[in-house]
């Protein structure tokens, strides 16, 4: 029987007439409809729950685990937070710490400060909470473009609410610092939900008088590759060609206001050695770095690297700058040292010899033509130089670069991808930071030389900028501490501004973090000591390389400053004059001494007896009796954190007797010998 004939017979048997077709199709339909519930019976999550049941069956604590296990779709529903998370349907026991060694999806969640049922999963981890299949829940699909956040960026989840520098999120915090420090926020807007855009912290210099300061050749060399000049440079690399750099330098010089600088000071080699000494004595290295003979860069990173400063700046500008920096750059962080003409000459002699032989030998620029200047101006506008630098005739551009406020919610479908970059948001951001020009030569975003770790930090900080983070209720948000702009008043205030105290010290929440907080300094110290210190600062911590410089203050200035600090910076918690003499008896002091060396082992960190004590984490206390006030010591011992939050000093929670005894002991320390310094 041929195949065709048999086929016809079969067809006839099944579909021969409408009754047969009816019966056949009826059975077929029934079979197909049966697939529908069968499909439900084999849902993916059921498989995981079954797997979990098998897993706990083999364990000794299986009975207890089984009792706590809930089958079926599990859900955290938080309507007010727009959370519907069914992750626990497969991740069955997130709180079962005894299953710590088990792999996913049954691994318990590591301890975090938040309750899982209070926030759900997707607020931090992203992904699709409502999904009950692996693919849909974790990966990017057509309906959902927010895949699970990769583990290395998990701190971005915290950053959505926490803008206050959470201690457990170093990567996020570092990323935010980088965003502000490397000028990212000068072009890109990053608005916080409380309002107010992030401000840069790198303070790019004004270029309005740049011709006084440096040469066109140096500008040319610098803008081609700032990091080639100084590894610590925060200015990014714009990838300019030689001709472009030539033209930009031409324009930058051409827009500079006419110079008003005094003629050059005399320099000499002998002065250079003395200048080096003065450089050290003035603690310039607290802020400025320099390459030493061994080729190692030492010094602070608050201010520019001075290794080759002689090739960079004009000597007459340097002299004027050292004399009073604010005259050239009113917003500078550099204090006004009261150097005399001789000292200025020494410093200029020293720094002027810090030169790079390569530079003058190799960089030669012909005088600029008008066309070059015009092209340079065009480039300056294109690259947005004025977003960071003040310039004559170029306004600061608004909305120069894309707003990054909600960049963490950017759907991957909407980002432009360079070849070879995986289609995920973190990869896109990392690629963009690492090599912006890979997305097209014409891209105006410049490149910074970030390390892999820094790129990870930056991406983390950017991923925290979700659209969700903008809509969280205020009760959940931990905003950036409000940037108070405290400015001391009056003549002392002028003086403090001139000395740039707030570059290093902070007062009332404003200022730098390099030196101690001075908010309650008036309660802490005695005026005589303070006056002496201002005129001739010595260090309290002998091992520090960063120290308070000597500003060569006049007696008048110093006492104005001391008076102001003593009156304005007093804590309301106690009165520094209120001393109960009965508590400061010699017997108490000797008891205090034994407590100091015994029970509390203060000598681990502080030096009282410079010959025997060695701990030098805390300030030296050899002259505590002349420096500090007794009530301050007492309260400090009780709870130092309340007086200076973030201080290294522990909160001892000491009882009053012990605290007074140690206070008595310390008030006896009136050693006049200048400690340390020679280390």
């Amino acid at each position: 029987m041929s195949f065709r004939v048999r086929g016809r017979r079969v067809r006839k048997w099944f579909f021969g007439d409408s009754a047969r077709a009816f019966g056949t199709l009826g059975v077929l339909l029934l079979a197909l409809l049966a697939i529908v519930p069968a499909k439900d019976r084999f849902r993916e999550w059921l498989g995981y729950q079954k797997e979990y049941e098998i897993l706990i069956r083999g364990r000794t604590d299986g009975v207890a685990l089984a009792k706590r296990f809930q089958s079926g779709v599990q859900q955290i529903w938080l309507p007010e937070r727009d959370v519907t998370d069914r992750c626990m349907t497969c991740h069955t026991r997130l709180k079962e710490t005894s299953l710590a060694g088990v792999g996913q999806p049954f691994r318990p969640h590591p301890p975090i400060p938040h309750s899982l049922t209070e926030f759900g999963c997707t607020i931090c981890h992203r992904g699709q909470g409502v999904a009950t299949t692996v693919e849909e829940a974790h990966r990017s699909t057509k309906a959902w473009e927010e895949p699970i956040l990769p583990a290395q960026y998990s701190e971005a989840g915290c950053g959505q609410c926490h803008r206050d520098g959470l201690k457990g999120t170093p990567q996020l915090n570092a990323g935010r610092v980088l965003l502000a420090r490397y000028g990212c926020v000068n072009c890109h807007r990053l608005v916080s939900p409380e309002g107010g855009a992030s401000q840069g912290t790198d303070r790019p210099p004004s270029l309005k008088r740049i011709a006084e300061k440096t040469t066109r050749e140096w500008i040319y060399f610098w803008i081609k590759d700032p990091q080639a000049w100084a590894a610590t440079a925060t200015m990014p690399n714009f990838g300019l060609s030689d001709a472009d750099a030539r033209d930009v330098s031409a324009f930058v010089i051409s827009q500079s206001s006419p110079g008003s600088i005094a003629p050059a000071v005399a320099t000499n080699d002998a002065g250079a050695a003395a200048g080096a000494e003065l450089y050290g004595e003035s603690f310039c290295a607290s802020c400025h770095a320099m390459q030493n003979a061994a080729g190692k860069i030492t010094g602070g990173d608050l201010a520019p690297d001075l290794t080759r400063v002689g090739s960079k700046v004009r000597p007459e500008w340097l002299a004027a700058w050292v004399k009073n920096p604010a005259a050239y750059l009113p917003g500078t962080m550099m204090p006004h040292f009261r150097f005399d003409e001789k000292q200025i000459g020494l410093l200029v002699s020293y720094l002027g010899r810090k030169q790079d032989s390569y530079f003058p030998a190799n960089i030669r620029l012909e005088p600029a033509t008008a066309a070059q200047i015009a092209h340079g101006q065009k480039l300056v506008l294109e690259k947005g130089c004025a977003a960071c630098h003040e310039m004559n005739g170029v306004a600061r551009p608004d909305n120069f670069a894309p707003d990054l406020t909600a960049v963490g919610s950017l759907p991957p479908a909407r980002v432009l991808l360079a070849p070879g970059v995986p289609r995920t948001l973190p990869d896109y951001l990392a690629a963009k930071i690492r090599e912006p020009h890979a997305f097209g030569r014409e891209m105006k975003m410049p490149r910074n030389q970030f390390t892999d770790a820094q790129v990870e930090q930056l991406v983390t900080a950017l991923l925290a900028q979700t659209s969700r983070s903008q809509t969280f209720p205020a009760a959940l948000r931990r905003p950036t501490p409000v940037n108070v702009t405290y400015q001391p008043a009056g003549r002392a205030g002028q003086l403090m501004k001139d000395l740039r105290c707030l570059s290093c010290h902070s007062i009332n929440g404003t200022g730098g973090s390099m030196a101690p907080d001075l908010t309650w300094e008036g309660s802490s110290v005695q005026r005589a000591w303070l006056l002496d210190f201002l005129k001739n600062p010595n260090t309290l911590r002998p091992v520090l390389i960063r120290r308070m410089p000597r500003f060569n203050l006049s007696n008048d200035d110093a006492s104005t400053l001391a008076d102001y600090i003593m009156t304005a910076y007093q804590t309301p918690a106690f009165d520094r004059e209120e001393v109960d003499a009965t508590k400061l008896t010699p017997t108490e002091a000797s008891r205090g001494k034994s407590l100091f060396y015994g029970k509390y082992a203060c000598n681990s960190c502080h030096i009282v007896d410079p010959d025997n004590d060695k701990g030098y984490i805390g300030p030296t206390l050899t002259q505590a009796g002349t420096r500090l006030n007794a009530p301050w010591i007492f309260h400090w011992l009780k709870n130092a954190q309340a007086l200076r939050p973030g201080s290294l000093e522990l909160n001892w929670n000491m009882n009053d007797e012990d605290a007074w005894a140690i206070t008595a002991f310390l008030m006896q320390q009136k050693n006049t010998r200048k400690p340390g310094g020679e280390r």
Binding site: V36, P37, K39, D40, V73, T84, R86, Q128, V130, A131, T132, T133, E136, A143
Partner: protein, 243 residues
């Protein structure tokens, strides 16, 4: 089994519902048609030629079948659907991920809707090419055109309900075409959407149109359509009118 069935048919309750038998005799067969509310729009007898597949391709029947499928699945889907923003979208996700057979019903509804549009169009063209619109069926042709429009409106209003990107932009594009109507286009669009953009009001309006108003109108037109088939001489078979 058989005796149980016949005893069941003998009960007073059964007989009160189904007055006639199921078809042992032609009388009973006729009575089932006549006495059934769903079948009584059809005649008791039908031209043999009208049953041939090539004549109608059963396109009208299949259009009606898709309509019934859509009503059944649609009513079930309504049980899990809130016509509000953005809950509507979340409901789609729920259907997909947690409702038993939810995604199947949604698929069935969606594909049946597409099928119905295709079938109704095909039905219209088939009727046209067969010349079945000729008198005395001219009014039924007009009813059919109305049903075609209703089908399109039903499908279009249903398109918005998932409240996803596809839905939102399809309706935005579609409703902008309407605003091209001279003089009152913008007003019509405003009335249709209940606002100037596709928003929560539009969703609710489309929901009510899709689930209540348009199906009711369609049901009325369908009834007329079927009734007119019978009144206009049964299904058009293309037979030459008898001399």
């Amino acid at each position: 089994m058989n005796s149980l069935y016949s005893r069941l048919r003998g009960t007073a309750v059964w007989r009160s519902v189904f007055r006639s038998g199921t078809g042992d005799t032609n009388l009973h067969r006729s009575l089932t048609v006549q006495q059934n509310i769903f079948l009584h729009l059809a005649s008791v007898k039908i031209r043999r030629r009208a049953l041939e597949f090539g004549v109608t391709w059963y396109l009208g029947t299949l259009s009606m079948a898709s309509f019934v499928i859509l009503v059944v699945t649609g009513v079930l889907l309504m049980l899990y659907y809130h016509p509000s923003v953005p809950q509507a979208y979340a409901d789609m996700k729920d259907l997909q991920f947690v409702v038993s057979a939810g995604v199947f019903l949604r698929n069935l509804h969606r594909w049946a809707a597409h099928a119905m549009v295709v079938l109704v169009f095909a039905h219209m063209f088939k009727v046209f090419y067969r010349g079945a619109y000729r008198p005395p069926r001219e009014f039924n042709w007009v009813v059919g055109v109305m049903l075609l429009l209703l089908t399109l409106f039903l499908s279009y209003t249903g398109y918005l309900l998932p409240w996803d990107q596809l839905a939102f932009w399809a309706i935005t594009v579609g409703s902008n075409i309407i605003s091209a109507v001279p003089a009152m286009g913008a007003k019509i669009r405003f009335l249709m959407l209940g606002g100037h953009t596709v928003n929560a009001n539009a969703l609710l309006r489309f929901y009510v149109l899709h689930c209540v108003i348009l199906p009711l109108i369609a049901a009325v037109f369908l009834a007329v359509h079927f009734w007119r088939i019978r009144k206009d001489g049964g299904l058009y078979t293309g037979d030459k009118p008898r001399e």
